[in-house]
Subunit: 467 residues, 2 copies
């Protein structure tokens, strides 16, 4: 394996995939029509329906064992085919069937849960993140099983329903049932390519530390005409606290010790990153901002991937309606998060920020800092066989090997896989940067979807050859 016989088999499998593109698109539309919004309790039944739909689909694809595993939240879909024998490698494929809310719904040009194909794209919530990517994997497994009666290696597939809500159930499962997930590599299909012609593998991701900071002042909202000037306004204090976290000139986080554990890139990595088609001009065009901004001494793509950040996401309290109201609010709350890089520890960072804020808060208010989530950054050796085989599989399917970089986003479950399974992670996917993941008008490029299936079909025998 693969040798000539493997090569011939791959050809048969790819032909099978191409014959069935129309069917794969129709099936994906069915899957996307289920509004599996994990963070909205009103969609709990839709979550269960999406899990059942996927499990049925996997049984139809010919997987030997498929089950729906309940969790404290939404269920996990687990499926496996282990008949390649004990000496063959085992690949664990990961994805998720839950989606982000569709808000603001008015901003969609087509209904978010009525998938619509147009100009080579499929528009729907979840098209790219992550149902389309999951279905690309399902199609590849089915093609091997239907066209050849078997898979070239052992495969486990785990598709969770809580990726958009912190993967609580799966994190528990990964640690408590690691044996059922034993594998030689993990293929995570939940990210994007650089362009339709440039595949991408992430050899790490940033972590995240998400905080909610509340400043409480008067017992109830007060009128600024009556009390303004004599009582602390929680907003006035909150903006001072928030402003103290970051230097306005250097954009460095000012919390003591924040950068202590930040890993420097080595020269090889820095060259790898400089070779990416992601110049500052390219990133600026993608943002539409007046100018880029960030930590001095780093390129934009470095700032967005291998450097930590601090972003305020929202501030609530008081009055934000049309017109004006002169309220001194009883409390003001900010949501902020920090993207963390290897080897920063999110719990340590949360504690440092909390201490830093409490140290400054005046006795005229009470301050509460809540950790809403803490996800560790991940680092993989990009020279690992599983990564290199994936890059070659991309070359077969897309005509170009994959670029390698550390991703700026966070895959909370990745750190758990790494810790519990000890296998190399191949973090990749078939989305595109302009897919509007988490935004209105999410789409999937259909060419990436079909080629993504082929990439996985190629990857299975290649991983066997590398092992």
């Amino acid at each position: 394996m693969p040798g000539l016989a493997g090569s011939k088999m791959s050809t048969t499998v790819i032909a099978h995939l191409r014959d069935r593109q129309h069917a794969h698109l129709a099936e994906l539309c069915e899957f996307l029509a289920i509004p599996s919004i994990s963070m909205d309790p009103a969609h709990t039944a839709d979550m269960a329906m999406a899990a059942r739909w996927l499990a049925d689909r996997l049984r139809g694809a010919g997987m030997s064992h498929t089950e729906i595993i309940p969790t404290s939240g939404h269920p996990i879909v687990f499926s496996e085919w282990l008949d390649a024998g004990p000496t063959a490698p085992t690949l664990l494929i990961y994805g998720h069937y839950d989606v982000q809310p569709a808000d603001p719904v008015d901003a969609w040009h087509t209904p978010p849960f009525a998938p619509t194909a147009s100009n080579g794209n499929l528009y729907a919530r979840g098209a790219s993140d992550d149902k389309g990517q999951v279905m690309a994997a399902v199609a590849a497994l089915e093609a091997w099983l239907h066209a050849t009666g078997r898979l070239p290696i052992n495969v486990r597939l785990i598709v969770e329903g809580e990726e958009e809500t912190s993967s609580v159930g799966l994190r528990h499962f990964v640690h408590s049932e690691a044996d059922r997930l034993r594998c030689d590599a993990v293929l995570m299909v939940d990210s994007s390519m650089l362009t339709p012609q440039h595949p991408l593998i992430l050899y790490g991701t940033r972590g995240n530390c998400y905080l909610e900071i509340t400043v409480r002042g008067p017992a109830s909202d007060l009128h600024s005409g009556t009390f303004g000037g004599a009582v602390e306004n929680p907003f006035n204090v909150l903006v001072r606290l928030l402003a103290s976290l970051q230097d306005g000139e250097t954009r460095r986080v000012k919390v003591p010790g924040f950068y202590d554990r930040v890993r420097a890139m080595d020269d090889a990595e820095r060259r790898l990153m400089a070779s990416l088609p992601l110049s500052d001009a390219v990133l600026l065009a993608m943002t539409g901002a007046p100018a880029l901004a960030g930590e001095a001494g780093f390129s934009a793509i470095e700032r967005a991937t291998i450097r930590p950040t601090l972003d305020i996401h929202g501030i609530s309290g008081g009055f934000t309606g049309p017109g004006k109201k002169t309220v001194i609010p009883a409390q003001a709350t900010a949501k902020l998060s920090m993207r963390l890089v290897p080897y920063q520890d999110p719990q340590d960072i949360a504690q440092r920020v909390t201490d830093f804020l409490h140290h400054q808060a005046p006795p005229t208010v009470s301050l509460n800092v809540r950790v809403l989530s803490a996800s560790r950054p991940v680092l993989v050796d990009y020279r690992a066989a599983a990564v290199q085989a994936a890059s070659q599989a991309f070359e077969q399917a897309f005509g170009a090997p994959a670029a390698c970089m550390i991703g700026g986003g966070t895959l909370p479950i990745a750190a758990d896989f790494q810790e519990a399974l000890g296998a190399p992670l191949v973090i990749t996917g078939f989305g595109l940067p302009d897919d509007n993941m988490h935004a209105p008008n999410e789409k999937l490029n259909l060419s990436c979807f079909f080629r993504g299936s082929e990439m996985i079909a190629h990857y299975l025998p290649m991983l066997a050859a590398f092992s």
Copy 2:
């Protein structure tokens, strides 16, 4: 006048008022049941209905001429009785029939537009601010007219429907039709007493400069995993800009020139203020805050009345729902206002703040500062006859003369009255500090309501005597 005959007449009038307390309460309830929320376009018809209701009521009271005057916004109710003759003084009484929105409605113990009497209070939106105070004046006029067939002086009454939305229509009217409002004193009944036993007259009010500050960054909302660190987050910039406006230690506004025109109190005033039953401990108890805070070198009541302030009222943009979302918003907006004291000019202050912010804003964002309103502070000579007569009328009705101070709130129309009419203002009222004006469970103390009517009934002949 007043002499003995006047005194006897007053007694008759007061008896008339007391006989009819039950009817006055019932009428006020009718008025309060009309949800005349000026800032909500959904209540435009209610505004017109409230104006008609009041005009009918004034006709019933025996005023010689009453009309509803249309404006660019909600109508003004104007009424007069000028048969006291050309040598008698003319009093202009001012109030407003519009009310604040009732949000948050869930926090009300009784429905905001179903007036409910309980324990000597009447609960309803607008009970204290300002329908109850207006109706106290109407009852006093009616009592004189019904009990004696005349008023001791000429009276004009103007009740606007836009006090809660900047008085645009009335401001225009005051300046363009000043002749119709010609008077020797203006009695503004739209404020509070210190306690049910301590009447209060304001010999000035703070002005207000209300700004909306918007920072725009990327063309649309971005994901902080993809772009965090490489693009300016409008929130991060906004909190720095807001924090720069005020010193965290001294609480002084740091905008250059902000304090240039601030008037110092003279010794007599400072003594007047120190004599008020408004110690720091009293104010702290009223706020329920952990501690008071404010500009160094001033008592709490001084900070709340004769010193300027800066309060942030709300910040919008990004994500503030439950849970967490890692968005870099395209824009972030803050609402803030500054209470201004004599002789600060709100336009000048708006320009200084705007310049100060633009000077600091980085080129990585665009900044927009909008002036939502600008109201001048007001200062009256508290030794004026119209003020002293009012204090004596309070003594007749409440058993104590009125304390005099500058109010911390803003009555935008007061500066226009002063400028267009050149008459002394008597800014007073029958509300209480705990009436929850602008908040849920607004109430009116019924004893203050009934005695308020008597105070106005006493004031009319006293003003004649002083003139």
